[in-house]
């Protein structure tokens, strides 16, 4: 639970930083472009020993990756509202900024909800990896992998 909280906090901090950097418009290309490219490269290297493990990893990663464009959109929305108040269908910059701030709050509510579910799933996944090695989820037809034997029941590994 504490670890899930930590993961949630770190990811939320990442989203806030992503939004703040996206306010300046140019870093959004660097952040999302390079970040997405690196994630794609590591995604191509993923080796799962069971379909369920791969699906779970993609679900867990997909939830986190979904929040990056949302956080970036929140930041870009703020900057566009300041540069071009008509973007928010208002004449004054002040009211446009107010509306953009309201949008950001709403988007962050969604981001927080997604990251909360993601943090719980991630801790569940990490726990499975620690119990069963890289296979994470053992599939009936796959060979045993990791520190535990397939014939033995999953055991809690005591902390040293």
């Amino acid at each position: 639970m504490v670890c899930s909280g930590l993961v949630f906090g770190l990811n939320m901090l990442g989203s806030v930083l992503n939004t703040l950097s996206s306010v300046f418009l140019v870093p959004v290309c660097f952040n999302l472009g390079l970040g997405g490219w690196l994630q794609g490269v590591s995604l191509a290297q993923v080796q799962a020993t069971s379909s369920f493990s791969l699906l779970f990893f993609l679900l867990m990663g997909g939830l986190e990756w979904l929040t990056y464009p949302l956080a970036a959109a929140a930041g870009v929305n703020v900057s566009l509202s300041v540069l071009w108040p008509k973007w928010q269908s208002t004449a004054s910059r002040r009211s446009a900024l107010g509306l953009a701030w309201r949008d950001t709050r709403r988007l962050f509510l969604l981001i927080a909800a997604i990251l909360l579910v993601q943090a719980i799933l991630e801790m569940f996944y990490v726990r499975q990896v620690l119990l069963h090695g890289e296979a994470a989820f053992r599939w009936r037809h796959t060979e045993p992998c990791g520190v535990n034997n397939a014939n033995s029941t999953p055991q809690r590994i005591p902390l040293q």
């Binding site: 997405g36 490219w37 794609g40 590591s42 995604l43 464009p69 959109a73 520190v147 040293q160």
Partner: protein
């Protein structure tokens, strides 16, 4: 239930209003991920070996940091 609906309606309204922005940024991000997947899969062997070295280094770091959670007998293997 009513409270959730009350919270979701303005959120949905925001998403609909920003749909084009979300679409453009989402497409850019998805394109970057797809580009990364293509590079990771079809890159020249020299580049892939460089990636493998980086992955090994990361994996070793992970193993070292999680060594405390692994049984001593398993650690020796």
């Amino acid at each position: 239930m009513i409270m959730i609906t009350q919270k979701l309606t303005p959120l949905w309204e925001t998403i609909v209003r920003l749909r084009w922005l979300l679409f453009i940024i989402g497409s850019f991000y998805l394109g970057s991920v797809a580009g990364g997947v293509v590079v990771g899969r079809f890159a020249p062997p020299a580049f892939q070996s460089l990636l493998a070295v980086m992955k090994d280094r990361q994996s070793n770091l992970l193993k070292r940091s999680s060594a405390g959670f692994v049984r001593p007998s398993a650690r020796e293997k």
